[in-house]
């Protein structure tokens, strides 16, 4: 009785292949020009379109584009709030400017970036972006003649957009140092100060932030090597919380300034301090100001411990990346992304209204 199926299976597969080969001849490419008017989009128009994010353009996108550009982005991990915010900003910008955005997510498996690029490249994008990117990805993009713009990580030979990790960490370190100096002259007088870098391994960008933060702190405060901890909190919020708890246990009488690699790690540190009833012994600055960082600033329990978040505004960064990509497709230059402010609990609801 297997004979009918034996005869049938090859026939079915052949028919399927023939059909799909025929269908493959039918494809659509959108090469029509995009016409949103004359001139370029003004900063006021962009500000109005971006609502609470108040995006400052890095390139004045023309309202008339010669074609509907296709931009591709390899997202590092959409389950991370900052990266999800990038994606949302990019999608909003693509819709606003009339370009197509295609994405993929490597879910923190950076060794698959090249493979992810190949999947996107069959759709013939005009520009591709990635974080962190690497030499292999650059070589693959160059082989296809597609410009690569890396986000928040500089790859030699590739275009760059975003926040230099050194500057990000440095701004956080400066904020910590200023707050700690005041504390050391009052509540913390006579106590041993420990710097805690809540890091993630292996993550070159993360390491750079922590090192830059420590360097910035050391410009104002004396922190010995023995009191400069670089600890691995790799994972979701409960992992850095567990790491910070171990640090607190090992330093029962010390005070801490904590520089985490992002908001989630900072929240983990605050939760550890709270659980140990030692919020008064710690100062934390978070990096990013995404949802987790904003909520921490609104949490009255953390007043006096959470000194603020270094505002990366990832949604705006995503929007700006699209502008940078359009500029690149048109053969123009774009401005650098500017991270310049630390948002405090007093400012958070004005800058990012809740809801």
């Amino acid at each position: 009785m297997q004979q009918p199926m034996r005869r049938f299976t090859p026939f079915l597969m052949s028919l399927a292949l023939l059909l799909t080969l025929a269908l493959s001849a039918c494809g659509s490419t959108d090469t029509q020009a995009v016409n949103n008017g004359t001139g370029t989009f003004t900063p006021q128009e962009v500000d109005q379109a971006t609502g609470v994010y108040h995006v400052v353009p890095v390139y004045a996108v023309p309202k008339h584009l010669p074609k509907k550009y296709k931009l591709a982005f390899i997202n590092p991990d959409l389950s991370v709030p900052s990266f999800q915010a990038w994606s949302q900003g990019m999608q909003a910008a693509a819709k606003f400017y009339g370009v197509t955005l295609i994405q993929t997510d490597v879910q923190h498996h950076f060794e698959n970036e090249d493979s992810a690029f190949q999947t996107l490249a069959v759709q013939n994008p005009d520009v591709v972006g990635a974080h962190p990117g690497d030499a292999a990805l650059l070589a693959a993009a160059q082989a296809d003649g597609i410009p690569l713009i890396t986000m928040d990580n500089q790859v030699p030979g590739a275009l760059f957009f975003g926040i230099p990790d050194n500057g990000f960490g440095s701004l956080g370190g400066q904020a910590l140092a200023t707050a700690a100096q005041q504390k050391l002259q009052s509540d913390w007088k006579g106590r041993n100060l420990v710097f805690v870098g809540l890091d993630a391994d292996p993550c070159d960008a993360c390491n750079a932030r922590v090192k830059a933060g420590l360097a910035a702190v050391r410009q104002s405060l004396s922190v010995s090597d023995a009191n400069a901890l670089d600890v691995n909190g790799y994972g979701p919020t409960d992992h850095p919380q567990a790491t910070m708890t171990d640090v607190l246990t090992a330093h029962p009488n010390d005070v801490f300034i904590v520089l985490p690699i992002n908001d989630e790690y900072g929240v983990g540190a605050l939760q550890a301090l709270q659980s140990a009833n030692r919020l008064k012994d710690g100062l934390v600055v978070t990096l990013g100001c995404d949802a987790a960082g904003q909520q921490a600033l609104r949490n009255a329990d953390y007043n006096g411990s959470d000194i603020g978040c270094v505002d990366a505004n990832p949604w705006a960064e995503g929007w700006n990346w699209v502008e940078a990509a359009i500029a690149t497709a048109l053969g123009h230059n774009y401005q650098a992304y500017n991270v310049h402010r630390v948002i405090t609990s007093a400012q958070i609801n004005q800058i990012y209204p809740q809801g």
Partner: protein, 350 residues
């Protein structure tokens, strides 16, 4: 049985229509229909995975105009090459009744050893690769010592080894990503002799070799026997301990090959590479209907399972479906295949 029924039918046909006795002719017709239905279900369960693959190819061809290009089809094969090579070894291990969860960690360690020997010590890429593979085989040997000599369950032993290997990889790399400064390996892995990428050639070699091993060599038959019933295999003078050692050496070696390919494709080494790969490999193997109990399974079905995973991943990206939905879809596809496999096993054991 049929003759008996036929005779009974002849006797019954002479009986009056309203005699109240059962109509044997009708009963026989009903039984034939039920038999046909049973045979159709059996065939559907046996060949369903192939039909599923063809169905997915058709679907994505409709859904995306880019899916069925030559480049994209090679992309699918390239994307699943590492998983597929390791899955070939895992199939052999599962048929033998064992499992090796160290494969993902071995990938990371291999990339670190290869790239650090080149970057820090100036080794050629060939020397770096050979040394890494020797270390991988030694890891397989150590795993086999734990399972065979100390009789530790392979899931527990390899889970523990995974943590050790990952830690060693991170220590060796100092938590960093080591760039591949000598690009010979990168060029080799990215080469396309006769238009076929090297990793895809590796994938084909792994499955052809596995097919020959399991179907034409005495060792393959011994592997089936050992997995099916180790006591009976032992009584039949099959060296089951040697079989177990062989499968762990094989899985470690193939994971090392996967690590070499990963190092070449990423042009770097990192302890984070390959994390979780063991679950992708298991998903593909289970999708192919290889049972966890051992003693049965066909390696060509694993290849189909690997391709299904690759096709689904690729097709969903081309359709611009967010990655969260991709995981759910993959889970459903795996669930469907596992249910079909369970039903097939249940029916065959009646």
């Amino acid at each position: 049985m049929a003759d008996l029924l036929h005779q009974t039918d002849e006797r019954n046909s002479a009986a009056p229509a309203d005699s109240g006795r059962p109509n044997r002719r009708r009963l026989w017709a009903l039984m034939q229909d039920a038999g046909k239905r049973r045979r159709f279900v059996d065939l559907a369960l046996d060949y369903g995975i192939y039909v599923l693959l063809v169905g997915l190819l058709l679907y994505f061809s409709f859904a995306s105009p880019y899916f069925l290009s030559v480049r994209n089809l090679f992309n699918i094969l390239l994307a699943v090459s590492v998983t597929g090579i390791i899955a070939a070894g895992m199939t052999v291990a599962l048929i033998a009744g064992q499992i090796d969860l160290t494969v993902g960690a071995v990938i990371g360690l291999t990339t670190v050893i290869t790239s650090s020997l080149v970057y820090y010590h100036g080794f050629s890429f060939l020397a770096g690769v050979l040394i890494a593979l020797v270390i991988d085989v030694l890891i397989g040997l150590l795993t086999s010592l734990l399972v065979v000599n100390l009789a530790i369950n392979s899931i527990i032993a390899t889970l523990a080894m995974t943590l050790v290997i990952q830690g060693v990889a991170l220590i060796l790399a100092n938590g960093e990503t080591i760039p591949m400064v000598n690009l010979d390996l990168v060029h080799f892995i990215n080469a396309r002799p006769f238009g076929i990428p090297i990793p895809v050639i590796g994938l084909l070699i792994a499955f052809v070799a596995g097919f020959i091993l399991l179907n034409y060599l005495r060792l393959g038959w011994h592997i089936y026997a050992t997995g099916g019933n180790p006591s009976a295999a032992l009584r039949a003078a099959i060296p089951i301990n040697r079989i177990y050692r062989f499968v762990f050496l094989l899985t470690a070696f193939l994971a090392g090959i996967g690590g070499v390919i990963t190092a070449g494709m990423a042009a770097s080494g990192s302890g984070a590479y390959g994390v979780g790969e063991e679950f992708d490999v298991l998903a593909a193997v289970l999708l192919g209907g290889i049972g966890l109990s051992g003693g049965s399974g066909r390696i060509e079905r694993t290849l189909v399972g690997v391709l299904i995973v690759g096709v689904v991943n690729n097709g969903l990206v081309l359709m611009n479906i967010p990655s969260f939905y991709q995981d759910t879809v993959k889970g459903f596809v795996l669930l469907l295949a596992v249910v079909m496999s369970a039903l097939r096993y249940k029916r065959s054991s009646r």
